[in-house]
């Protein structure tokens, strides 16, 4: 335990408070936790719902454009794994997530797990004993695009957050998670 001081995660409560104020609505405790946790969201959903499953909507490699390169702090043109998934319980979609993972930063085992199976990233990290930390970048409300509307069967506003998982002082992956504002209000 030797690293220098970081204040990036200090303002999470402030971030949530700001979104609540701007939106004029108080979020449930579960929503707040899902938006701010620095652990695996899959692990939390697993505990709340019983085993949840992951459906991969899209998974491919592409060269990072300027925006993707910025998100994962790599040079433009670097190969990244793009993954788009739905975490769901039975037929009910719970959370939509996209991730960008620079290929150069994951070993063959992790890459093959990402590609071959519907395994949540949190579980992959656990499986390979990856030491990591998460930095929440943004928490916000957004309007759903057509794809999200279709997935959740609603056109209501979405709660979203994006964050990075850091391993060996480098960004291993950038992740965005999205769910309708009406989700996780009762549980």
């Amino acid at each position: 335990m030797t690293q220098e001081k970081n204040e990036a995660n200090k303002a999470l409560i402030d971030k949530i408070n700001e979104v609540e104020e701007d939106y004029g609505k108080t979020f449930s405790n579960t929503q707040k936790i899902l938006l701010t946790t620095d652990g695996s969201i899959t692990a939390i959903l697993d505990v709340l719902y019983g085993k949840i499953t992951l459906k991969t909507l899209d998974q491919h490699f592409e060269e990072a454009d300027a925006e993707h390169a910025r998100l994962v702090n790599t040079p433009k043109g670097e190969q990244i794994n793009f993954r788009e998934v739905i975490m769901h319980k039975d037929d009910k979609p719970l959370i939509y997530a996209i991730s960008h993972i620079p290929l150069s930063r994951c070993n063959d085992d992790i890459c093959s797990d990402l590609i071959r199976a519907d395994i949540p990233i949190g579980r992959i990290l656990k499986n390979y004993d990856i030491e990591s930390r998460r930095e929440i970048r943004n928490i916000y409300i957004e309007k759903p695009n057509d794809r999200i509307k279709e997935i959740f069967g609603t056109d209501e506003d979405m709660l979203a957050r994006d964050y990075v998982i850091i391993n060996s002082d480098e960004i291993l992956m950038w992740i965005k998670e999205v769910f309708p504002v009406s989700h996780f209000t009762e549980i």
Binding site: M1, Q3, K10, L12, I13, I44, V47, K51, I110, R133
Partner: protein
Amino acid sequence: MNSDKKPIPNVAREKIKELEEKNNIKLSTIQKILCSIEGPVVSILDVLYGNVGLFILDQHIEKADESVAEKLEINEGDEIDLREVILHKNGRPLVYGLSYIPKARCSNTVIEKLLNEDMTTGRIILEHEIETLTILETVEIREPTATLQSLFHTNEDFIVREYSLIHKKNVVIWSKEAYPISYFKE
């Protein structure tokens, strides 16, 4: 990293299920989350209650006995930081915490923070950008010790979880967290 491993089950979910069945109870959503999150509970409490306070009950360096040495995978007699704290909101105790931290595995800055500042180990980990892996060891219902009874003014059962945080393949913190079973019901 082990390429032959099959995906492992969610240990927290299984331990919680076992606890519920054994004690014939249902944990609340928040209790389940507190039992299953990776790392210290302080970040969750901060979100639920606004910034929570820390009251340090005991904090000192001592030599590890056999039991602590085993938990931390160090030699008996190695120096450890023992920390016994209460997380509270405006004086109301929320969670009791006990931590053992092997001194040799911490930088001087971290040790100074532990010894001199009223900062939780969870916040120290965040601020110092420490990459960790959480190994959940225990989630149980236990009868309270005299200390817990006195701190929380209750003799009801407590929910207890114990876990280790791994950094650079070594245990850097072993922690126990406990709170009365009636807490965090909603």
